[in-house]
Symmetry: D2
Subunit: 507 residues, 4 copies
């Protein structure tokens, strides 16, 4: 076999190469451009313009005749946008002015000059960004629910696989892989709740606030709000424009918490997959190799998730800093909020899906996991609890007994019967000591898990309740998402109807 | 008259000195200790202990006899705590171990040794902190509502006082003081909403999660949750302990946004009260003097609010950083979350009340405010809108006309009739130009406000709607708060009943 | 005259439009792409490759014959890069692997396969980034010195223009515009010092550290260090790679402080140019207009500087967060350090030059400035000092006297003779009171500045010393910069000589 | 034996309990007050007052007679302060006014009223804080050098102990413990350099800048600078007061980087001491137990170091946020800079000493470390390099060969001779393959380290150079520190001489 030129300088130790999504997620911006910000806003700007023009006509702020021409122009423009054939011209400043300039060229200034009636770029951009962030939030929720689904499915399958539970990075008590994975799901469902709260807090229309202080045109804010799928208009012209960092910061905070949760998932899997643990193997399709070390299969996806958790925390900080000490009304400082939140969503949106891929494809070494459950004195707590429960010893005294036994056993990893007897004698305890087999049984990993009784623990009954509860929440979230999407769909249809009616009437 | 030693080295130019609350808010930690953190947790720890013991008895995890003794001991301890007579001993580590040590001394280890059954300090401290933060959140909401009330009352009174509205720190359009103040209220009511969401998101009990992996005792998490006023238990033993930064960060974020809003209020008032503006005078009781400059009356309260906005943004950052890349289970790194959120609440809780004081006592120079409304070309936008509305000119063309007129008028501050006519001629406009008096009228501040029509604007009808809507929200929040307090009150009473019944039965 | 389509939707009130640099600085990323990160590294990567190959040949790690072929290939590649004709292919991962792949295609794998001898992408990228940041630092220093020069020139011209000095945003004491501007220069020269310290701290070569743990090839780190213009190699293979966030964070911190300083310059100028102040006019070429308000000339450049100060503070935070809790050796989390510092430099490098433009072109209303110097009790402090100096009164008592006089004068803005006499009587002072003209003279702005004696004050002698000192520092920095550039030039020349010699010998 | 009440509720499994310093470092503020901020400033305030009074007398700003009385008063006050008998009274505001009030009571207002001549609290507090931070910096440097010394000593002893080197948390190449520890020393010495740069950048006196705009008294800033151990006065009255966050942020940044480095040390040791690694045991005196799990010995000190790294990163952020967008002159926002930097130093100063304790007392399981050096394919890179060096294969091809061999060996951990031969055949290589013993030898940990040749690597010659270089830097830093301390000592002596001379002359 002849060596072929490969596109990467590693990979001969791999049986399968990582997917394009993985390479793109991990390669970052090395060989990828970030396109101009306003391109992403084009579809939203057209939507906002359409709703605005319909409203201007309905409220007689502009003549119906001008409105229908503007609407035809916007429809033509939308087709160009959909086809990717509307490049923005930097000489024409931004998305709003590019749109107006194009309409001016198409329709003449007598018509196009009416587009900007009763509005400013200040309320327009805040409105565009609300729509952009709203869609971004929907995507993040969808992606997170993908991961939750994977976690719950895998948890169901692995709720019987014992593994060490840790505190302080030290062996604490035995748990199961299913318990750990469902714990991740629990965190992530709270994230989803936070994104939903964001959606409901900010799904109000700022359109019509003009420069910050309203307008003397008799506009109808409620109508545009409805046409854009908002739950209604906002109620103060100064608020949203002065705080053109708050919805962004609020969303960035939700992403930050999500990424912190994912960083915990990542750190945990990175450690469990270290050679010294030997308990988890990250699939090759979610690993990359080294330019120089032949043996390397690195968990890059998980590392990049951690790196992006660091990234987004600073982006949150920038947004918060933008908002401090602002004077009332728009200040241009806050324009940077736009790029920052775009970066946040671009960098992080896909993270849950990639982590879902890692978890769905990783292999678990059950034997190694079980074997670690006999080390590090990990059975001591259940031993202590059972000793207390069966002997009637106060918990505190049972603990002292087991501590002394542990001390005597040194590095054995488990407590021997003789050391326990010795410790009980040392404490002049008169209660009948447990039998040798009992002492061993209480430290057996599967027995220990079987003994766990508290809600939320890895015990059998608890896990049944937990998985049921989390699955119910997952489904509630899926339903919520469907409802919102349907609502947006209807808003668009309604606007379309109004537009059509107007154009018919206008002809 | 002989000079008396004063307690401050300034103040002879004052007729009234600032209150103790103001001096303490502004003096910060110069001459104030911060007491040990766990003192603040004592009442919560006793509550949690009581609920825990009652539950242990009811579930037969410990004998009723031991439980009643423990409850008596805790009741005695509570009296000491209430009387401020339970100093914590650093040699006994923390609040939890101080409590257990005191009970051991009082009741002997045979009884007290049963207290720590089926729990760890890990779940205990998370539970204590939830209660602490819950009360802190209630306080912040209460204080913010005080400020909102002040703002709405003052807005009602000042909705007719014209003043310049700004964008980019430049004169934008005329607005009213009442409009600006109600804008502040709108922001702050969203803050309240965010605190309420926090409350509902985290009012779940982590007690019973033990070290992070549950317990083999047959405890009842729902019972303790109910006794502590939670809406229920949480559903995973790993979640809250691993994320012992999240509720803290979430709360710190809400405080950060609140403080950013207050910093905007502060910055706005600081500028309006500058000599160059001469529009607002901060009352002496919310000002301090200088050690060396005789004339100084500084708006320290407002400046400190801005300083604390900076402070809390970093505290949020610390909390977020604590949570990145954690391995599952408790890690001691996160202990610092406790001090940070305590600092956040201690530094910021009172801020809304102090700002309320500033606003409630400040005096407004209406004449100066009105006079600035004739400068900086501030009437140009309404002039343009009216020109367009009356002449049928496209807005964009009307704008060009007014821009040219502005250019010709130079620094006059308003647009003259002749310059407008000139500009219209330059653009070869055939429409009949407005009369001279009309041009002046459209730039009259009160007329302009009267012309404002959009919802959320300073116009009369809008302001009526806005104030009504904001007042309704205020009342909804007051009701919400009352409901929560009632709920907590009932939970305490219920626990007390259970305790009494147990002790009666136990005798 | 017919209205022409303009490229912006504002500007008819302007006599001169802002420059392209201004529009690009303020328009941000609205209509500008960010190109792929590694394109910027291409020239550095070629340099590093060249130095590496020369060293490999000199140390006999690879045969001279292979080396000369590689060097020819790199020279050909460099030409493509210089001509902008070497687009990076995402399928070939990053800049390093694109370069190797191109060489493999050109020279065959038998030769190109030797390029990556004794190195890893880990040390290579750290080395590329050091070179990139080194050049970035040089640019920032150059740009900051441009601003310092402008400030010192303008300070020299305006050291006699009186204006209010502020503390707490309130009138404090009279100062001069020259004093304020030279104060800005003083801050910025400390920034330059910080950048120079960065340069000297990190101008050490990490090349040869391989993956993090060195190599078994007999490489010569000192040689490559010298060829790349470093002051020497670093001394530990683990250090720079594990800390692939530190040089970035250190540089971002220096930029953050610089931007904070510029934000103070900006905030000060924004306030001074408000209508209410009327003291400074920002030139139209550094302003932009509004899409809807005809009169607006907004100080966008200054606002954007403040916005970018917020931005960079968060970027610093991201970098710091990346570095927390890393395990030894390279971790991919830190890759994001690269994009962040690139963003920092791209966003902020030009800021000092733009602020220099604002300051160089702004106009000052001397009359307005002087007129504010009679308000707000601004003369009280010098009055007090002079009263104490001439009468022998303790300063503290003189202060009380003036405080009482101020109180009596109310809103007059200055202290009257009669109120001063009254206050002295009240205090039963027997010293001869100053004459009426004296009291007025002591509150005359120019007289007050004339009286200032302390080093660093706006007084004449002080200002002479201050400007001389700051100018000397400026020249020292210019010299430092020249030295470094010369050093880099020589390093490149030396490498070229070695390359040439090798190629001659190799033929 | 009867159970005795212990002060902690764990420890029976320990043979030795942690020290008070460890318990206090890890217990944080649980049971420790933070004293009022200004108490820490008292000694500095007295020093500054003394220097100021001496200067006022020498420059004839106040009569020598008053000055000598003030100096006597200050001397008496200093004794109270030294004896801890000068409690600050909150009613008297802050440290400065408490001092003046006490002098007024002691000496009468005719004398004490002259103390505040030609200064403001603005320059006074900046000056006090410079002295406070200067001492804090000295302490941090001292403590860091303690750790560096420990690291270098331990590195010398362990430079022959092989262990896995990691990248991406995966086995990369074999290294030695001494190499890793000396890597930590290298990072920390750069921290020391950064603290020294801080010292030199800010050791300039702001005293005499008054409120921000100087004074009309003929003071001598150079004299007070010299008396306070500064390298000279600063040169602009506005600078340091407006930027009353910069020296603080600069210091906090240096601490942040230090803590990040210590967090890497901590994370590394926490992982190496996990049960799964079994390579390092943290000494009991640097561990703590659990309230409920009998077996726990947790590496709390190291975890707390990581937690504090998170803490300080946010504190840095607060300081940076304080400085953004400030208007010229003092603004009270910046007062919080004082508490923040005090917190930074209080929380973090001792960290290096505690980490030094951990490293000085930990035990290393050499056998376990060596044993891991045969797993994870860790020998592949040296094998590849040696194969390339001996066979003349291009590195890239040698890599492909070893990659294929690795793939064939699966989970064996090392590359077998047969798989290597197979891979060479697959690639149709004609070069003579290495002998079986050679292949094994190249993967032997000690042999691999012996082969390392690059400067900075764990190879023998490299380590000798590295340790020598780092030790030299350590000694340079120790000398630097001694010089500064001597300089401060001399400044105090000189001031004392001036004071004595004045008092003699004044009598």
């Amino acid at each position: 076999m002849k060596t072929q030129p490969k596109t990467t300088l590693w990979g001969s130790a791999f049986t399968q190469m990582p997917s394009g999504a993985v390479l793109s997620f991990t390669a970052g911006r090395d060989t990828a451009d970030i396109p101009m910000a306003d391109t992403a806003l084009l579809p939203y700007d057209v939507w906002v313009n359409t709703a605005h023009v319909v409203m201007l006509a309905k409220t007689k702020c502009i003549p119906v005749g001008s409105a229908t021409k503007l609407l035809s122009g916007l429809a033509a423009l939308e087709k160009l946008v959909d086809a990717g054939k509307f490049p923005l011209d930097p000489l024409k400043e931004d998305v709003h002015t590019n749109v107006e300039a194009w309409l001016t060229e198409s329709l003449g200034s007598a018509v196009a000059g009416k587009l900007h009636t009763a509005r400013s770029r200040n309320d327009q951009i805040v409105c565009d960004m609300r729509l952009f962030m709203r869609d971004g939030t929907i995507t993040v929720i969808e992606n997170t629910l993908v991961l939750v689904k994977t976690l719950l499915a895998k948890a169901e399958k692995t709720k019987g696989i014992v593994m060490p539970g840790f505190t302080h990075h030290q062996h604490a008590m035995v748990t199961t892989l299913g318990h750990v994975l469902s714990g991740f799901a629990a965190m992530l469902l709270r994230d989803v709740e936070r994104f939903e709260a964001w959606y409901e807090r900010y799904n109000h229309s700022p359109l019509g606030n003009m420069a910050s202080y309203g307008t003397s045109y008799p506009i109808d804010k409620k109508m545009t709000a409805e046409c854009l799928g908002f739950d209604g208009p906002d109620y103060h012209s100064i608020d949203a424009i002065t705080n053109r960092w708050e919805a962004e910061a609020d969303l960035a905070f939700a992403v930050t918490v999500l990424m912190n949760h994912l960083s915990t998932v990542s750190e945990t899997l990175v450690l469990l997959s270290m050679t010294e643990f030997g308990t988890v193997t990250i699939h090759e399709t979610y690993s990359t190799g080294s330019s120089v070390m032949p043996q390397k299969k690195n968990p890059d996806v998980l590392e990049v998730v951690k790196g992006k958790a660091a990234l987004v925390s600073g982006q949150l900080m920038s947004l918060v800093a933008l908002g401090k000490g602002s004077f009332i009304g728009y200040n241009r400082d806050s324009q940077w909020a736009k790029y920052i939140i775009m970066d946040v969503l671009r960098e992080c949106s896909a993270a849950p899906v990639l982590v879902s891929g890692v978890i769905g494809t990783m292999t678990v070494n059950e034997r190694a996991m079980a074997s670690w459950c006999h080390t590090g004195g990990i059975g001591a707590t259940v031993l202590m609890e059972q000793l207390a429960q069966t002997s009637g010893l106060p918990l505190r005294q049972a603990k002292t007994v087991v501590e002394q036994a542990i001390k005597e056993c040194g590095n054995l990893g488990t407590v021997t019967h003789s050391s326990l007897i010795g410790a009980m004698k040392d404490q002049s305890l008169t209660s009948v000591p447990p039998a040798a087999e009992q002492v061993m049984a209480w430290q057996d990993p599967h027995t220990m898990v079987g003994l766990m009784k508290s809600l939320g623990s890895p015990g059998k009954k608890s896990m049944k309740t937990v998985l049921k509860k989390l699955t119910r929440t997952l489904h509630r979230d899926i339903t919520w998402l469907g409802t919102q999407k349907q609502h947006l769909h209807e808003a668009k249809a309604r606007l379309n109807d109004m537009k059509t009616a107007l154009m018919k009437g206008g002809e």
